[in-house]
């Protein structure tokens, strides 16, 4: 191995990196808000809706318990996070000699190594061409970014430190170059990369459905709408934040909410997705009630009070539904083989150290970690030998938890509505600005109907 690099340069880099590390160490835990996406993406309020109505579909898992698992990761989402968080202080970011940003490389390199060390097998999926419908949403994001750029300029002028950081984070955009850099890096690390024809989440979901990977990791709840059987959140969060991985299972969501997959997709569209507007005044809870009541968006539109709720004029919900149900994905998954290979040591050193000013010692150490990790990933799991069976014993303690009781009332409520749905709903909607009142009203009318 021949490494052509002057000692002095290495020293300088090390000092800078230490500084940057310190900065990132300061900014990351002190402002947890920073990791939140400044621009909302995915399905609005779905996490809360699920937590309230289907608590059993999500469970916290230890990061380490995913050893040996193949996980499809939405790369663009991760790169976006890295650009926001890694090594940032104010408007300053990690850069190489030429002044190009390297936060995404630093983030991708260290987080991927963390995954490999824990024995996970990540495969990164990159976004392709966005579907036409998403362009509206993208335009919105673009204009938000433009606003943020103006705000940033103002904040810099005023010298408001917090605002500078806040707005500069909002100006972050993942460029083609960032994507290409990361693909190159992953290739050198021996980590597989898949390019989606369109949305990465959709591609991830299909990989998971076909059993090519165990789960999909993203921060974007869209993945569930695309039907990824198993979806992980917070997998890519820095270990310093100590947030457990949250695992969602679509089958449990459908079971707990008592919906079909088609109905769940309609629910997500009503909550608000990236592809089209939602109906003003209908949030997650109302949407869930309406879906339970009427079964599909078409039926809801027929029965809903159109004066109270303004349906967007040009509302392409059918098109959005089609995008969720039949998204553009690669066709030949059957033949697809995902391979993890040994890292290309010299390639990594050339790319990271010589071209992007990473510290040589650190990169060498990291390569050692990758190689060591490869030997570790071979622990088998019991489930691959023994299959689950149903236990015959009944729990001694009857489960009568609060959520169950409340879910029952929801069911009963909808049953009550079945009797004279139009009337009751009309009333409920008229009162819906006082949703508390309306809920009680429905419950009361149900009780009366039962002769209480």
């Amino acid at each position: 191995m021949s490494i052509d690099i002057s000692r002095r340069f290495v020293k300088e880099r090390r000092r800078e990196e230490l500084q940057e590390e310190r900065n990132s160490a300061l900014t990351t835990p002190a402002s947890p808000v920073s990791v939140k996406q400044p621009i909302p993406m995915g399905i609005k309020g779905l996490t809360k809706l699920l937590a309230d109505n289907a608590p059993k579909c999500m469970k916290e898992q230890k990061f380490e318990s995913y050893f040996g698992r193949k996980i499809a990761i939405d790369a663009s989402m991760s790169i976006y996070q890295f650009l926001i968080v890694v090594g940032r202080s104010g408007t300053e970011m990690l850069t190489n000699e030429a002044g190009e940003v390297t936060s995404h490389l630093q983030g991708m390199f260290s987080r991927t190594i963390r995954l490999l060390e824990a024995g996970l097998k990540p495969v990164y999926v990159f976004d392709g061409k966005p579907p036409d419908l998403k362009k509206q949403e993208l335009a919105k994001r673009f204009s938000k970014r433009a606003d943020a750029t103006e705000d940033l300029a103002a904040a810099i002028e005023a010298g408001e430190k917090e605002d500078i950081e806040k707005f500069s984070k909002r100006t972050v955009k993942v460029t083609k170059q960032h994507n290409e850099d990361c693909k190159k890096l992953l290739g050198l690390m021996g980590v597989p990369v898949i390019e989606a024809p369109s949305e990465a989440e959709a591609e991830c979901a299909v990989l998971c459905k076909n059993g090519k990977v165990y789960a999909v990791a993203s921060e974007d709840m869209d993945s569930l709408t695309f039907g990824a059987p198993r979806f992980l959140r917070h997998l890519m969060d820095p270990s310093s934040r100590k947030i457990p991985v949250m695992e969602f299972e679509v089958s449990k969501i459908l079971q707990e909410l008592n919906l079909t997959m088609d109905q769940f997709i309609d629910l997500c569209i009503l909550c608000g997705c990236d592809y089209c507007d939602s109906i003003r005044g209908i949030g997650g809870q109302t949407a869930l009630k309406l879906i339970h009541q009427f079964g599909s968006i078409e039926n809801i539109l027929e029965n809903i009070n159109k004066e109270r709720y303004q349906i967007p004029e040009d509302w392409p919900y059918q098109e959005a539904r089609r995008l969720f149900k039949e998204p553009a994905v690669s066709a030949n998954h059957e033949q697809l083989e995902i391979k993890w290979t040994s890292p290309d040591e010299e390639g990594l050193i050339t790319f990271l150290v010589n071209e992007n000013g990473f510290n040589l010692d650190r990169v060498i150490k990291a390569i050692e970690k990758i190689k060591a990790a490869k030997n570790k990933s071979a622990q088998g799991r019991l489930e691959s030998f023994f299959k689950p069976v149903v236990s015959t014993s009944l729990p001694i303690k009857r489960k009568e938890t609060l959520e169950k009781a409340s879910r029952e009332t929801v069911n009963k409520k909808s049953k009550a509505n079945d009797r004279s749905p139009a009337q009751l709903l009309e009333l409920a909607f008229r009162l819906s600005t006082f949703s508390y009142v309306s809920e009680h009203f429905v419950r009361l009318s149900f009780l009366k109907g039962r002769g209480y």
Partner: protein, 271 residues
């Protein structure tokens, strides 16, 4: 209604020590046949199966099949309060969300009641089929415990290989390597110290020592341990509990990585 009385109460304590490092929460199942438990560790690599048959208890009453979710750390705290010679009785009423441990001193002059809250635990029950194993090794439990402890000071994994000559435990770490061979030895005068190998065909498997070490916590329950190995199955490490049942540990082996494919031109450091 459930009532289990065990004059030799220390057995409960030993069982608890043998499980609690591996599993944090578990459902105990009670039926007419006995008191049992099956639980996996959080990463689903190891499984413990416990059976205490009803005949082994001094009094056993279980009206219907029940399962009781308990936190093993808490259960262990309660059982630690029992004296070494105490008689332990475990009681639970139908529909109750607590279980009571009653400790009686041998001469009946002290009686203590400890009530513990039960939990709802969602746990998967795995079906474990009966299997013929390629090799079965029986050896003194303290010997096995010593081997695992010694090897884990050198490496993380143990390769167990059984041949006609005997059973070999080996490991490799940063500081060096270690090999321990136990030869078949059927000493007649001390049957507990015998090493007995029943082998259909030679077998070699690799396991994480961390788990093996937590299995050996069951050594106080039995003088001998039985290790059953097959190349396509998890290993079974069994400690018999005299006249009552057993505690069995299953551990998934380490497997060769099927995705491994060295890049051309790059030296693959794996051996």
């Amino acid at each position: 209604m459930l009532e289990l009385r065990l004059v030799q109460g220390s057995l409960f304590k030993k069982v608890m020590e043998a499980i609690k490092d591996l599993v944090t929460d578990a459902n105990f199942d009670c039926s007419a046949t006995g008191f049992s438990l099956q639980a996996m560790d959080s990463s689903h690599v190891a499984l413990v199966a416990l059976l205490l048959r009803s005949e082994g208890f001094d009094h056993y009453r279980c009206d219907r099949n029940l399962s009781m979710g308990m936190n093993l750390g808490n259960m262990s705290k309660m059982l630690k309060c029992a004296g070494a010679d105490d008689i332990i009785t475990l009681k639970a009423d139908d529909g109750s969300d607590t279980v009571t441990f009653m400790f009686e001193s041998p001469n009946q002059d002290k009686i203590a009641d400890f009530e513990m809250k039960l939990m709802d635990i969602d746990s998967e029950h795995l079906g474990i089929p009966e299997a013929e194993y390629q090799a079965i090794v029986r050896m003194p439990s303290n010997e096995f415990s010593r081997i695992c402890k010694d090897l884990s000071s050198i490496g993380d994994t143990v390769v167990i290989s059984v041949t006609k000559e005997g059973v070999k435990f080996s490991t490799r770490g940063d500081i060096g390597t270690a090999n321990i061979v136990c030869r078949q030895n059927m000493s007649v005068d001390k049957p507990d110290e015998a090493v007995i190998i029943e082998m259909q065909e030679p077998v070699t498997l690799t396991f994480a020592l961390r788990y093996m070490n937590s299995f050996t916590k069951a050594s106080p329950l039995s003088n001998t341990v039985t290790i059953s190995l097959s190349s396509d199955l998890p290993v079974v490490v069994e400690y018999k509990i005299a006249e009552m049942g057993y505690i069995r540990y299953y551990l998934a082996p380490k497997i060769e990585d099927e995705d491994e494919e060295p890049k051309p031109g790059v030296k693959n450091e794996r051996d």
